[in-house]
Subunit: 204 residues, 2 copies
């Protein structure tokens, strides 16, 4: 099956797989079977085997999958082998919280630039990074930054996205509760915390 297109649903599961695999690797485990792994990621075992089979067979029958090999494979598919420099736009409460969140390096992301509109914030430090004026976003193309996190108020989100697109960014994680219009070459993922809350009462 190595040459078959990987289903998008499989791709969606890969980051969760990766997180669990890194966790297992840190526990010094060498192999994991699809049945055991199922407990960690809450995906049924035939699904896991099917998913792994899409990127080539390399499990050992009777034993399971080698964890380091899986990590390498998944990082390869998701293009996370090398560190991805990431920009953060918005140095408000949410932006600051995010910039200090340690989980990014699990996936190879590193926030290397922070931008804000507010003159009171420009020039201050968050962690070790000096907050820059949003007009500097245009310089991202020269700084090898292709991924950005947008944590600005909804009314300035589209304007920010336009600047990012102009600077050659091709992946945006949007934390504003609004849709962003971007060219097809740019992938946007929007997380609206309030909207995610919205489905809970239905299931309760």
């Amino acid at each position: 099956m190595r040459y078959t297109k990987i289903p998008s649903e499989t791709i969606r599961r890969l980051p969760a797989y990766l997180r669990a695999l890194i966790f297992l690797d840190e526990k010094s485990r060498e192999y994991v079977s699809s049945k055991d792994f199922s407990e960690y990621v809450h995906v049924k075992s035939p699904q896991i085997r099917k998913d792994f089979s899409y990127f080539g067979a390399f499990g050992t029958k009777g034993v399971g999958y080698r964890i380091i090999t899986l990590i390498e494979q998944i990082k390869g598919i998701l293009k996370l082998e090398k560190v991805q420099k990431t920009a953060l736009i918005g140095a408000g409460k949410l932006g600051t919280a995010i910039s200090l969140y340690p989980g990014f390096k699990t996936y190879g992301f590193e926030i290397t630039a922070i931008f804000d509109n507010n003159n009171n914030k420009i020039g201050t430090r968050i962690g070790e990074i000096v907050v820059e004026d949003c007009w500097n976003i245009a310089t991202l193309s020269d700084r090898d930054i292709r991924v950005a996190i947008v944590a600005v108020p909804a009314q300035s989100a589209q304007e920010t996205a336009d600047k990012l697109v102009g600077a050659g960014v091709n992946g945006i994680l949007n934390l504003s509760p609004c849709y962003l219009a971007v060219p097809k070459r740019v992938k946007v993922t929007t997380i609206d915390i309030a909207m995610e809350l919205g489905i809970l009462p239905y299931y309760a």
Copy 2:
């Protein structure tokens, strides 16, 4: 089709539909056609009609759907008619940012209690709410709070979830990068910002 089970994929789209409908309502629009609405929510028009048909036919042929009626229908299905009191656990940077986020009331959520472990934070105010000790989580059952947002470090997330479950909470929005084990009656939605970033390079 009124009596058919609504597909879970349709349910997932409803919060986004609701957000767009409220936006249109605020613009004083009365009707919207599936074709127009498609532009706002980026779902194809036959899909929108299908989705709406699951909760009973009430569009007007040649005209479209009455926006207020749609809002009522969707709020009814998602059980968002009345205000949902919501607890926030974790008064750190992320928790504070969330508590000040104005978007919750769009969906009828209102944060009415905040908890933290840190003695320096207990007793202080965030907005108008006094931060309580986490041991008080047990009192939620008497306070008509059934939904909670978990914004604590990963290592204390499971412990927090256990307390919430014990207090009768049946919906948890988990912002920690870890899986929470809960009884079947409890619905958990986990948002891991770093993990969401993880799929961007693949598409870029």
